[in-house]
C-alpha cells in the first residue's frame, strides 16, 4: 500500500510557522484567511499497513506535540519515483 501520513501540530500548541504564513498572505493581497497551520506530509510504500500507527508513534511523529492521520494514496509508477 502507498500511504500518506498527515502530521499536524497539536491543537493548542503555538504554531509560529502557521502564524507567519497567516500574516504573510494579506500582505500579498489574499484577504480572509484564518487559522493557518503548517504540518508535514510523509508518503511511503508499506507491505503491512497495520504497522503504520506504530511507525507514527515511534518515529514519524512525536505524539506529545503532533497529531497524525493515515490515508491511502494512489500507487506511483516505479519510474516516477
Amino acid at each position: 500500500m502507498r500511504a500518506r501520513v498527515l502530521v499536524r501540530p497539536k491543537a493548542g500548541i503555538l504554531d509560529p510557522q502557521g502564524q507567519a504564513v497567516e500574516r504573510a498572505l494579506p500582505a500579498l493581497g489574499f484577504a480572509g484567511v484564518r487559522n493557518v497551520h503548517v504540518g508535514r506530509l510523509i508518503e511511503l510504500d508499506v507491505d503491512d499497513p497495520a504497522r503504520l500507527p506504530e511507525m507514527c508513534d515511534r518515529l514519524l511523529t512525536n505524539p506529545l506535540i503532533e497529531d497524525w492521520e493515515i490515508e491511502e494514496a494512489p500507487e506511483v509508477a516505479e519510474t516516477t519515483r
Binding site: L14, P16, Q17, A20, L60, L64, I65
Partner: protein
C-alpha cells in the same frame, strides 16, 4: 571520575564538552555506533545536529546503538547530561519529559542568557550558587520547551525544573521560562543553554563549569565513595 561524551554523525559540540569535562575530571569520546560506554561514571549527550536532525531534532539519534546503553545506564541511576541537541535527543528517547519546539521567533538565536538556578541541591547544580544566577550562552533554532499544562504543574511540584531563563532572558518562548529539566529520579538532566561554552574567562563566563563540577561532586560522594 570519568565523563563520556557521545559523538553522533552531525554532533558539533562534543569537543567543547570534552574540553569542559576535562577541566574537572577525565573525559573520553563515545562513538554512536558502539555498544560500550567504556565504564564511564557519567554520560554527556552533546549539542549539534545528530544524524542531520532529519525528521525532527533528535528523532533519529535516539535509535543509535549507543543510546540503548545510555538508556540502561540512566535506568541504573547513572548521571546523564543532555545539552541542546542532547536535550532534544533525551526528550525524544523518553528519558526526559516534554519536547523542544521551533523558537517562537522562527529564528536561530545565539546570545548569552541569564539563568536562575531553581534548585541548588541536585546532582547537576550542587556546586553552584543556590538560587543564584548563571550566565551561559544559548545557540539554537529548536529550543522552545513544551509540555502540556498539567505536566508543567507536575514538573514544578516535583522539583524537576532546575533552571529557568531569568525575567527578560527567555530566548525562544519556552513555557514557564523553563531552560532545564530533570527526570523524576534526578539523574538525567537536559538544558538548552551550553555550559561547555562557558568554562574559560576568555569566553566571558565560567558559570558553565558549575554543571560539570556538580556532576563530579555527586559521583565522588555517591558512586565512587
Amino acid at each position: 571520575m570519568r565523563f563520556g561524551i557521545v559523538r553522533f554523525p552531525g554532533s558539533c559540540d562534543e569537543v567543547d564538552a570534552l574540553a569542559a569535562a576535562s577541566r574537572v575530571g577525565d573525559a573520553v569520546l563515545l562513538w554512536h555506533a558502539d555498544h560500550d560506554l567504556q565504564g564511564v561514571d557519567a554520560v554527556i549527550v552533546p549539542g549539534g545536529f545528530s544524524y542531520g536532525d532529519y525528521l525532527r531534532a533528535g528523532a533519529i539519534a535516539r535509535f543509535a546503538p549507543v543510546m540503548a546503553q545510555v538508556e540502561e545506564f540512566a535506568r541504573d541511576g547513572g548521571l546523564v547530561l543532555g545539552i541542546c541537541n542532547g536535550f532534544q535527543v533525551l526528550c525524544e528517547a523518553g528519558l526526559l519529559p516534554g519536547a523542544l519546539l521551533v523558537n517562537l521567533s522562527l529564528k536561530f538565536v545565539f546570545r548569552q542568557v541569564e539563568l536562575e538556578v531553581v534548585r541548588g541541591d541536585t546532582a547537576f547544580t550542587n556546586a553552584g550558587p543556590s538560587e543564584g544566577r548563571l550566565s551561559i550562552p544559548v545557540k539554537h533554532t529548536t529550543g522552545r520547551f513544551y509540555a502540556p499544562e498539567a505536566e508543567l504543574d507536575r514538573l514544578e511540584a516535583a522539583g524537576q525544573v532546575l533552571l529557568r531563563y531569568a525575567p527578560g532572558h527567555n530566548p525562544n518562548g519556552s513555557l514557564r521560562d523553563i531552560a532545564g529539566v530533570c527526570n523524576e529520579a534526578g539523574n538525567v538532566f537536559g538544558l538548552m543553554p551550553h555550559p561547555e561554552h562557558a568554562v574559560d574567562p576568555l569566553g566571558g563566563s565560567v558559570d558553565g563549569l558549575t554543571i560539570f563540577e556538580s556532576m563530579r561532586a555527586h559521583v565522588e560522594q555517591h558512586v565512587l565513595a
